[in-house]
Symmetry: C2
Subunit: 255 residues, 2 copies
DNA sequence: CGGCCTATTGAAGCTCGTCAATTCGTGTGG
DNA sequence: CCACACGAATTGACGAGCTTCAATAGGCCG
């Protein structure tokens, strides 16, 4: 384990801090993956993890690394990405605190991570050894069921995104994505608007929907002119969700 | 169960035959999902299934149906599809004999199938009740592990396809898909060529990669002119795999 | 203030989708 | 057995949508 940490720190320039583990006991009880587990098991989970802090721009793991740990994000934001041979990147998932990533690790002791986990800001995650979790799952069937349910959700999300990118126009996909982000993580402001406090660049949004940062910028500008949203550097506020819905459903072709 | 069969038969016009179950015992032992299970369990699986035959063009299940069964295809070919609000279709998977589909059913008693399973030719599948399988999994942890492994493979496939459709051109995706089909199900002919005996229309290929049948037709014609493949009605033979690889990797832009 | 990352916008061009017309191939029924 | 019908496939023309490149402006931090 220590070897892995050092290797990653070296490879990516990430600074690794080891933090007191008592801090995170409440978090563990809220994680979907650990729902319904016995107090004994939860205690074991509270003891047998490692805390990893990774600074912005560094990786928790990279595509192709041997996958030996499952992570739960405690603070920060992480994006799960794949890079193509010619350097293009796609964003598969955004991870918020309390969410699980690297769960492939539990299944196959000898496989590699199929994607990379990049910290979008300084982030801290709890890491469990996959062999330890496999042992735990033998005594706690709920753990397996929870894990399968996470995988099911993940499959359905990827299927939906594949369908979207295969059938819908950039305009629709972007509107859809903004609505989804607003619903998941947006915060309602005193003035009634919903802001997405995620700091996503135009580039990030482009990689989530399979387009270029230029197309994203053009669309956001035009929507701002129409009063649907208000944009800022690395931020978007949704002013008129209904307008975005009609774009997402392609109800307003040609005006 | 009988009610479900009748309902589906009615809804889709599918003709349902109930066949002797002894026929399929050897198949069950070869299915990846059932690998490593005890002989006792395999016997139980051999007894507690239902055999469903569905004729070409009918559905084993449709998007939104309550999902109560897991299927293993015994003969025929099935495609797993999703349909968009405006009638466009995408093909998520092709199922060949021995492969499992509808596996989401096992996890959530009360959920719906997220996609449809359409018989591309007259097909027969074994169906297990999801409650029965959940019970079985409590005594056979291997079943859970196998299922999770299938799900892992499925996730990685969908991630790869998302990356492709988000970053690659139609040309590359089509070449990639032909190579994949040739590797998975192609048969080497006496003359050394590899034919894909799947009967896939241009439309099917288009729905697999997110394009139109016209683009597929144009590309296949041009590749045939260049001697890379030989095409026929609902069939393709790969003559020069290496040429397709260089197209898939975009090594020959502009000639 | 200067440097760097992010964002905007225009212009040009290419890929791809769309529509329409036609041909090809397969199975059916007279 | 041939003619016909129907689905599958081909091909051309056109244009919309999107990417690409380049130039410029904006915002934030040291």
């Amino acid at each position: 384990m220590q070897a892995l940490l050092c290797q990653l720190a070296f490879a990516e320039g990430g600074r690794i801090k080891i933090v007191s583990s008592a801090t995170f006991a409440p978090l563990i009880r809220q994680v979907a993956l650990f729902r319904g587990l016995s107090p004994t098991t939860l205690d074991q989970l509270g003891v047998n993890h490692v805390i990893r802090s990774v600074e912005e721009g560094s990786f928790f793991f990279q595509q192709g690394d041997a996958c030996r740990h499952l992570y739960v994000l405690a603070q920060g934001r992480v994006k799960i990405t794949q890079i193509t041979a010619d350097g293009q990147q796609v964003v598969l998932r955004l991870i918020m605190p309390g969410q699980t990533f690297g769960s492939i690790a539990v299944l196959r002791p000898e496989s590699d991570y199929p994607a990379s986990a990049l910290a979008m800001e300084d982030s801290t995650a709890l890491a469990w050894d996959s062999a330890f979790l496999r042992g735990l799952a033998q005594r706690e069937p709920s753990l397996n069921l929870n894990l399968m349910d996470l995988m099911r959700i993940h499959i359905e999300e990827m299927q939906a995104r594949f369908r979207e990118v295969a059938t819908e126009k950039v305009e629709q996909r972007l509107a859809q994505t903004l609505l989804r982000l607003a619903a998941q993580t947006g915060k309602r402001q005193p003035d009634g608007h919903v802001t997405i406090d995620l700091r996503l660049t135009r580039q990030d949004l482009a990689e989530m929907i399979g387009t270029t940062l230029y197309s994203v910028s053009r669309l956001l500008s035009s929507w701002e002119r129409r009063g649907l949203i208000s944009t800022g550097r690395e931020s978007v506020a949704v002013l008129n969700p209904h307008g975005l819905v009609s774009i997402a459903e392609d109800l307003d072709r040609k005006e």
